[in-house]
């Protein structure tokens, strides 16, 4: 047999039917559902008199609309409440397992999938959410789909999908101290651009990727979509197996050992060819900060705001000009001189235990700057509890960081956590699009450590200088 990439092995293993010229029908091992992209899909099933084909492979949670304030308080946004209620009703009617906002297993869909052990190497995973790419960190093929496809998967447990191309992104060597997974992925997007990955599945390889924790790997894969990629993946290894061992919905005992043997065979064969290869040196990566309105508009912390006049490409010149106007920044300004109003640490990119630890370590014994309001929103109820068991909540609260309950929160502002027009925020989320965190809000994407450092200083600083 010719050598195969990890993606090709998983893909080939999931083809249910394939006809020339038609998109292959792919089996889906895990379907994650949330309240925003599912109501119309359930309506479609109901109208056609169809059922959910595999309830045992379908899990739902409420995350986008959920308030992050005290759970004893009601959902005050009537339209959000209606959408949350619709999920409750649909899951009850169709028999889908639901972790609602009061469940101890509730959380951001891309946090709970891996954390509870549902996401496993070799699986195909879908969700009506673009950041489904996160799950690829465990060696799964995981893609975001639209609501029509959500309905298709609910009804058939399969997806009709053309086979994407493959891209290897190799990050050689070791990361400098203080540089994190978030900085790797921001540097990658800065290098290949926001549509550098379109039509491709990215496999991240190299020493710097291998050295990342699972939480770090999930941060990298999470933002694959911001480079336009269909999915991101990292080959499972001992780090992956250690992470999964003992998780509630992972195989247990002898089954786990047997699974590990299967998972070991998933790695890309030597000699397998990718359609594209990109290389970076970890040693060259600094902490990164986005300055514009796409994740590709990014600079190292030592850098400056670019001048559109320096750009030769008309499209780029125009985009930079618009971005600087929206962001109210001037060409040539030092990144470190950007002052902040808000700091948001959370989102499916950076709301796991490693992220909370990194933020707590930076603010320990310090105080959030008087001009800044900072909040930390854990990715799940379980992670919140684990952080509290370590005393991380106390460190953050003592420093003046607001400690919230789990949800997507200010990543996209579907719940009450939003920026006011003109407010500037250091955010560990994944999108700095215009208005993403609230109409007129200005978002700078950074790592949790950099966000925490900015919270203390009131402006961006190199976390390595603290």
């Amino acid at each position: 047999m010719p050598p195969k990439t990890m993606f090709e092995k998983i893909w080939d293993d999931h083809v249910v039917a394939e006809e020339p010229g038609e998109p292959p029908i792919i089996y889906i091992d895990l379907h994650l559902v949330h309240e925003v992209t599912s109501p119309q899909a359930f309506d479609g099933l109901r109208d056609a008199g169809r059922k959910v084909r595999r309830l045992d492979l379908t899990i739902a949670t409420a995350d986008h609309n959920t308030p992050t304030w005290d759970l004893s308080l009601p959902v005050t946004d009537e339209i959000s409440k209606k959408q949350l209620d619709a999920l409750d009703r649909n899951c009850a009617e169709f028999g889908v397992t639901l972790y609602d906002r009061f469940s101890p297993l509730q959380g951001i869909v891309h946090v709970i999938g891996p954390d509870l052990g549902y996401t496993q190497p070799g699986k195909t995973v879908v969700c009506g959410d673009s950041h489904t790419s996160t799950h690829g960190a465990l060696g799964a093929f995981a893609i975001g789909i639209g609501t029509s496809e959500v309905e298709h998967v609910l009804a058939t447990q399969t997806l009709r999908s053309f086979k994407p191309d493959t891209m290897e992104i190799r990050v050689n060597g070791q990361l400098p101290t203080g540089v994190t997974a978030k900085d790797i992925i921001l540097a990658i997007i800065g290098k290949i651009g926001v549509y550098g990955g379109v039509g491709h599945v990215i496999e991240y390889t190299g020493e710097a990727i291998r050295n990342l924790s699972m939480d770090g790997r999930m941060t990298v894969c999470n933002m694959s979509i911001e480079a336009g990629a269909r999915a991101g993946m990292i080959a499972p290894d001992q780090t992956t197996f250690d992470y999964l061992k003992g998780r509630q919905f992972a195989p247990q005992g002898a089954d786990f050992d047997a699974a590990v043997e299967r998972w070991k065979a998933l790695a890309t064969d030597s000699g397998a060819k990718y359609d594209k290869v990109v290389e970076l040196n970890a040693a060259d990566i600094e902490p990164h900060v986005t300055w514009g309105t796409t994740p590709g508009m990014v600079a190292p912390i030592s850098g400056k705001i670019p001048d559109p006049a320096d750009s030769e490409d008309e499209n780029a010149k125009d985009a930079i000009t618009r971005a600087l106007e929206y962001m109210d920044l001037k060409p040539g300004m030092a990144i470190q001189d950007i002052k902040l109003d808000r700091v948001f640490i959370g989102a499916c990119t950076n709301s796991r235990l490693d992220d909370i630890r990194a933020a707590a370590e930076v603010v320990k014994g310090k105080k959030v700057h008087d001009d800044v309001y900072a909040m930390m929103v854990p990715g799940s109820a379980k992670i919140k509890k684990e952080a509290e068991d370590e005393g991380l909540d106390k460190i953050l609260i003592e420093a003046g960081v607001d400690w919230r309950v789990a949800g997507c929160s200010m990543c996209l502002g579907m719940n009450p956590d939003i920026l006011k027009p003109g407010e500037r925020c250091a955010s560990t989320s994944n999108r700095n699009f215009e208005g993403r965190q609230g109409k007129g809000g200005r978002t700078h994407l950074v790592s949790p450590a950099m966000a925490a450092a900015a919270a203390v200083a009131g402006h961006f600083v190199d976390v390595r200088d603290l």
């Binding site: 249910v16 039917a17 010229g21 038609e22 998109p23 029908i25 089996y27 091992d29 925003v36 992209t37 109501p39 119309q40 309506d43 056609a48 169809r50 084909r53 595999r54 986008h64 609309n65 946004d77 339209i79 959000s80 209606k82 959408q83 619709a86 009506g128 959410d129 673009s130 789909i145 639209g146 609501t147 029509s148 496809e149 309905e151 298709h152 009804a155 058939t156 447990q157 399969t158 009709r160 053309f162 926001v194 549509y195 379109v198 979509i225 336009g228 796409t294 499209n315 125009d318 985009a319 618009r322 996209l412 579907m414 999108r431 699009f433 215009e434 208005g435 993403r436 109409k439 007129g440």
Partner: protein, 197 residues
């Protein structure tokens, strides 16, 4: 699913790169549990002033473009979220065809499920349409998916295009994907039993 065969309508230009799904429809409008009625949310941040009045500088508020059925835009249109509300908002407004040099993958897929044609053309042809639409407000284009050609009344623009045959077939015939896949139930059952699922 809705079919798309041939369309004649006004083309509106938005000469920007990376028009993301948060611009097409901001998250605040995703709370609806309905599948339609999103027309007023389309491009809302650009289309309306802070007080809710129309922003006269935005193309869809300008004379000649208000009833646009075709949009021509910069590369990587629809990047970002998987929200199918993006093609729903375009469709509900009346925009059934978007012309660009490239689209984000999930948005591209979602369009085909909703009778919306995301049409990829080479850069010089997109530029030709963009320039014409900007200089001649209200100009109409005919987009014929069956014949794979785009033209204006004067035939100054006349462009043949390529599109994947399976995607074309699904859109032209408004095929119901789920119905088609359910016809393969035996294959799905065979797969499940072979894999112990």
């Amino acid at each position: 699913m809705d079919a798309f065969t041939k369309l004649t309508g006004v083309v509106a230009p938005i000469d920007r790169v990376n028009i993301d799904t948060d611009q097409i429809i901001p998250a605040v409008y995703l709370k609806s549990i309905e599948r339609s009625g999103f027309q007023d949310a389309l491009f809302s941040s650009w289309r309306y002033n802070a007080d809710g009045t129309d922003n006269p500088d935005f193309v869809l508020n300008k004379e000649g473009y208000r009833n646009a059925n075709v949009l021509v835009a910069g590369p990587n249109f629809g990047c970002g979220s998987s929200r199918e509300h993006a093609p729903w908002a375009l469709r509900d407004y009346g925009i059934k065809c978007i012309i660009s040099t490239s689209f984000a993958d999930i948005f591209y897929n979602n369009c085909f499920k909703n009778g919306v044609l995301p049409l990829v053309l080479p850069e010089e042809q997109v530029r030709e349409i963009m320039d014409k639409a900007e200089s001649d407000p209200g100009i109409e284009l005919t987009v014929d998916l069956v014949g794979q050609r785009v033209w204006d009344e004067s035939e100054a623009i006349s462009i043949s295009f390529e599109i994947d045959a399976a995607r074309k077939d699904a859109l032209v015939n408004g095929l119901d994907d789920i119905g088609l896949t359910l016809r393969m139930s035996t294959d799905i059952e065979d797969y499940e039993s072979k894999h112990g699922l």
